[in-house]
C-alpha cells in the first residue's frame, strides 16, 4: 500500500485525536466549576462537546486499528503521538492560550523522545510488537 495511504491515515488519526482533546477542553470549561459530584457529571453530559470527545476517541481507535494492520509499529507509534503539535497550535488560536518557550521547548523534547522510542520499536521487530506496551501506549488515550 502506498505512502499516500499512510499519509492520509495518519492525518485522519491526528484529526480525530485533536478533535477529542479540543472537545474535552470545551466540555470541561462548559461544566465548570469542577466538583467531583453527580451534578458536575450532569453538566458534562448535558452539553454537546462531550460527544465530540466520544467521536474523536472512537474514530481514532478504528483509524489506529486500520493503520496497524499495515504500518510498522515504530513509525506508527511516533506518528500517532504527533497530535500534540496540532493541539498546541489550535489551543492558541481557539482558546487564546499563550504558547511560550516552556511549551515549545517541552514539545520539542517530547517529540525527540517519541522519535527515539519509535526508532527503538523499529529496531526490535517481532520481539514485542504489536502487543508490546509501546504499541499499547498509543493515546487513543488521553494524552
Amino acid at each position: 500500500m502506498s505512502r499516500r495511504f499512510y499519509l492520509i491515515g495518519f492525518l485522519v488519526l491526528m484529526a480525530f485525536d485533536t478533535l477529542a482533546q479540543l472537545s474535552f477542553k470545551q466540555a470541561g470549561n462548559a461544566a465548570l466549576p469542577l466538583e467531583l459530584s453527580p451534578a458536575w457529571l450532569a453538566r458534562v453530559f448535558g452539553q454537546p462537546w462531550i460527544y465530540g470527545a466520544f467521536v474523536g476517541y472512537i474514530g481514532a481507535f478504528f483509524t489506529w486499528m486500520s493503520l496497524l494492520k499495515r504500518a510498522p509499529i515504530g513509525p506508527a507509534f511516533a506518528a500517532s503521538h504527533l497530535e500534540i503539535i496540532s493541539v498546541l497550535a489550535l489551543s492558541h488560536y481557539l482558546f487564546g492560550e499563550d504558547i511560550g518557550w516552556p511549551q515549545i521547548v517541552g514539545c520539542l523534547f517530547i517529540i525527540a523522545g517519541i522519535i527515539c522510542l519509535a526508532l527503538s520499536e523499529t529496531e526490535e521487530p517481532g520481539e514485542e510488537h504489536p502487543s508490546g506496551t509501546a504499541g499499547a501506549a498509543r493515546i487513543v488515550d488521553n494524552a
Partner: protein, 124 residues
C-alpha cells in the same frame, strides 16, 4: 503555569497516569491470556470471561473522568504535554511487569519525554 499546579491538579494528573497505565497494562494482560489457537470470536469470549479486560475498561472510564477534570483546570496546551508522561509510565511498567527490554534508545526516549514534561510543568 506553575502557579496553577495546585494540589488538586497534581492529584488529578497522578490519578490519570495511574488509571491510564493500569488500563493499558490490563489490556496487555488480557491480550496475553488466550491460548494461541483461539481466534476471532472465541478469543474475545475467552477474554470477556476473565477480569483483565473488565479492569482495563473500568480504568478507561475512570480515566475519561479524571482527564476531563484535569483539562478543565489547566490550559489545553499544557495538559496535552503533561499527559505525555503516560508514555514513560507505561514503558517503565512494561519493563517491570512484562520484562520488556529497555534498549538504549528507549532509555533516551524516556529521558527526553520526561525532560519535556518537566520543562512544561516547572516553568512559569
Amino acid at each position: 503555569m506553575g502557579s496553577e499546579l495546585s494540589p488538586l491538579v497534581i492529584t488529578l494528573w497522578v490519578l490519570n497516569i495511574l488509571v491510564d497505565s493500569g488500563g493499558q497494562l490490563a489490556f496487555k494482560a488480557a491480550a496475553s491470556q488466550p491460548p494461541h489457537e483461539l481466534d476471532g470470536v472465541a478469543r474475545w469470549r475467552f477474554m470477556l470471561g476473565k477480569p483483565w479486560l473488565w479492569i482495563g475498561m473500568g480504568c478507561y472510564v475512570a480515566e475519561f473522568v479524571f482527564w476531563l477534570a484535569f483539562l478543565s483546570l489547566v490550559p489545553l496546551s499544557d495538559g496535552v504535554l503533561l499527559g505525555s508522561i503516560n508514555i514513560v509510565a507505561i514503558m517503565i511498567a512494561g519493563r517491570i511487569l512484562f520484562k520488556e527490554r529497555l534498549a538504549p534508545l528507549r532509555v533516551a526516549g524516556i529521558l527526553l519525554v520526561s525532560i519535556g514534561v518537566a520543562v512544561v510543568g516547572l516553568a512559569g
